[in-house]
Symmetry: C2
Subunit: 461 residues, 2 copies
């Protein structure tokens, strides 16, 4: 079986072929690298392809599987957003500033997936430092959306979205400060999980905003995300924000269904500004959840508008991180990134403090609501992917987003495919849950995904 | 026995007289109110004397004691820094802005001590909003130091310090954002405890800085502080920062001694700028601890200079709190408070963020050191109380202080009497410990106090 036939296979299916000896991880990696070589020219998902490392990883995985100690991820191809430090492999952050940076260490997430036997295919393009916009002519041009190359694949984990949608990898890690895992998942018909703050290590992953950044998996199915999370989750002393909360079993409960589970719908804010098509798809998703036995009720989050305080926190922290470099090397920053970073230098300490106070109130209210319901569901984005023309227009700012509320509160939030617009662009459902209750969030996502099968659609490439 | 004879009695002694029927709480409160009336004119510790409330409380305590349900604090006179909201009693914050504010609720601390049977004598002067300096002619003139009225009694819990030192009350509550409990304790030969962040409720106590403010007890002995803490400590749902950590027994372990206990001495920073007399008294204190069986060793806190980041955090948070009022009513702010508050409006968000990052590093390092030693000891202040002439001089700024490091880290810190300067002004030892380990901090303080008996000296008034 060739990579063109298997490139959309799930991790369980592909791993089964490896473990039964029906397919060699080395042959498969070689073949998939060929597919990347052929197809990525027009998509630009990969900033660096690590063919040698992939083959070395695949040989190691093959040996481990032969010895009988290959786990569920052994031999499965993976790629990393180019904010994840990789030993001996340049890690650019999509930025001229770091274009030649070759770390001498692997970040914790890469180490953990390496130990699980995964095969690193390469590094995936990111918006510049996860915060800029790449215009034509940028040193690291943007990835294209495989569903329609005139549209963005989402950001900032744009390469992760494009590669998965095009069948150029089986799993990817993104980072999510205000939706950068869930946004590309939403725009590319994928599954993306922003875990609870502190659940997955950030050690060795470049920073955008200390208190909002999350790392997490992206894949084509909820099960694949669950398998990746299982290998990633757990305390890391190298990350000061890492939690000691015990790690749950994420894959096993997926099949249990959601009968009797309480689903809360916070309409205010989250449905404002939504396209009619998005709204319709969302209502159909609620109907599907009811059919699956869930109890769906509207809920109120009185301070939901405090979500806007996200911007003050993000910008003050981003300026704190970039201040020295942007002053020393302004010419190595893209125009939008430089402007956004410098604007962050105008946020006052008192404004930051007030934003954090609003954030605490929002957290308290969401936790209160989550005592009465098990999960919250919203559209992941109010509209499908915009065109490059839209985001390259100088009037493009920070559009309203449904994702930052869960960066503000640190709650786990999952994006799952939820249908298509009349233009054929993917739509997405966001499912959020209690702190460290990724298991329930994934279970709801899996039940919905299996009932609707939106994830089975493929883009024409 | 009259109040003039008993006004320096410990809580256990006084409570014993009440419980044995040898003294009536009502008679004693009446007599002590007379002493306040006579002596406070020159000291100005009380901003409001609550004679009616005191007698009502005393009658209730007397009845409870007769019924046999008077606890260790029943009938004991207490007074509150005028930041603690008291129902039906004006709560001024030492400020023209709140000069006529009469809360319709008691703060949690007042409720808890009321329930413990304490007798509220009144409200004690504070520096304006715990952050200003009262110049001559201020609506609420400053308290004087009973040891020498030309010197300040410390701030901002200045009235609490003056009242206790002059025998005008048996316990007082202060608040401590950068040393406002420990400083007056140090300058007035008293014991002051800043508990662990989250140990004692702040609900209903006016704010200076959300992330640095602590409430806590002041008294003349460690045992009295322990008895007050016992009644104050414990979770309060009305304070978002309140901890659910179980409450220890604070009084019982006091007598156990400190043989084998490991005492760390962080000389860098904490001894810089100290008067020779302070240094000598501190070395004598270390010798006393060794004689008591403690193992005293020097320790290093590499990032101790990060303690200066305290100012950025304090000022940004204070501006956030006061912004609206200081813009609407600048004329109701004293000159120093207004200047300090407005200066806080110049702190950038990124500076605040960097200050919080330094704070996190300082916390990690102190916790690391506290794995190897049980407590840290330092001089509480590098010099004894300055004169009013010094603090009223326009060049007076923010002097270096040994106390903010423990507001930054949230660790419990106790000030205990440690001798006198050649001018007859009190000196003080600061003892800090692990999070929520007030019991050990108090035990060390008690052993030292009982061995040295500095607390027995009285000012001439």
């Amino acid at each position: 079986m060739s990579a063109d036939e298997l490139c959309y296979a799930g991790i369980r299916e592909l791993g089964g072929l490896f473990r039964r000896g029906a397919l060699s991880p080395v042959d498969y990696a070689t073949d998939l690298l060929g597919r990347v070589e052929r197809l990525d020219k027009s998509l630009n998902a990969y900033v660096t392809v690590t063919a040698e490392r992939a083959l070395a990883d695949a040989r190691a995985a093959e040996a481990a599987i032969r010895r009988g100690d290959g786990g569920p991820l052994a031999g499965i191809p993976i790629a990393y957003k180019d904010l994840y430090a990789t030993k001996g492999i340049r890690t650019t952050a999509g930025s001229a500033l770091l274009a030649d940076w070759v770390p001498d260490f692997d970040c914790t997430c890469v180490t953990r997936l390496q130990q699980a036997g995964m095969v690193m295919l390469g590094k995936l393009i990111t918006h510049e430092f996860a915060f800029g916009i790449q215009f034509p002519g940028h040193r690291f041009p943007p990835a294209r959306n495989p569903w329609n190359v005139d549209h963005i694949p989402g950001g900032s984990s744009s390469g992760s979205g494009a590669a998965l949608a095009a069948g150029l990898v089986h799993g990817a890690l993104g980072s999510d400060t205000g939706g950068s895992i869930r946004g590309p998942a939403a725009f590319c018909n994928l599954v993306g999980l922003k875990p609870t703050y502190g659940r997955v290590s950030r050690a060795g992953v470049l920073t955008l905003s200390w208190s909002l950044d999350h790392t997490g998996p992206m894949a084509r199915t909820v099960e694949d995300c669950a398998l990746l999370l299982q290998a990633l989750a757990g305390h890391d002393p190298a990350d000061p924000a890492s939690s000691r909360e015990p790690v749950a079993d994420y894959a096993e409960p997926l099949g249990r269904g959601i009968r009797g589970l309480r689903v809360g719908v916070p309409r205010a804010y989250f449905l404002e500004g939504a396209d009619a098509e998005v709204e319709k798809a969302f209502e159909q998703a609620l109907a599907a959840l009811r059919l699956l036995g869930a109890v769906v009720t509207d809920v109120e989050i009185p301070s939901i508008l405090a979500s806007w305080a996200f911007l003050a926190i993000l910008m003050a922290e981003a300026f704190a991180y970039h201040e020295r470099d942007v002053r020393a090397h302004p010419e190595l920053y893209g125009d939008v990134l430089r402007e956004r970073v410098l604007a962050g230098g105008l946020i006052l300490g008192s404004e930051y403090v007030q934003a954090q106070r609003l954030r605490a109130r929002l957290q308290a209210e969401m936790l209160e609501v989550l005592r009465r319901v098990d999960v919250l569901v919203t559209p992941t984005t109010p509209k499908p992917a915009p065109t490059f023309a839209v985001v390259w227009d100088p009037s493009f700012g920070f559009p309203k987003s449904n994702m930052p509320p869960f960066n503000m509160t640190g709650l786990p939030a999952l994006a799952v495919p939820c249908g298509f617009s009349s233009q054929g662009l993917p739509l997405s459902l966001q499912i959020a849950g209690r702190p460290f209750d990724e298991a329930t969030v994934l279970r709801v996502g899996h039940a919905y995904e299996q009932a609707t099968e939106w994830h089975r659609r493929r883009p024409r490439i």
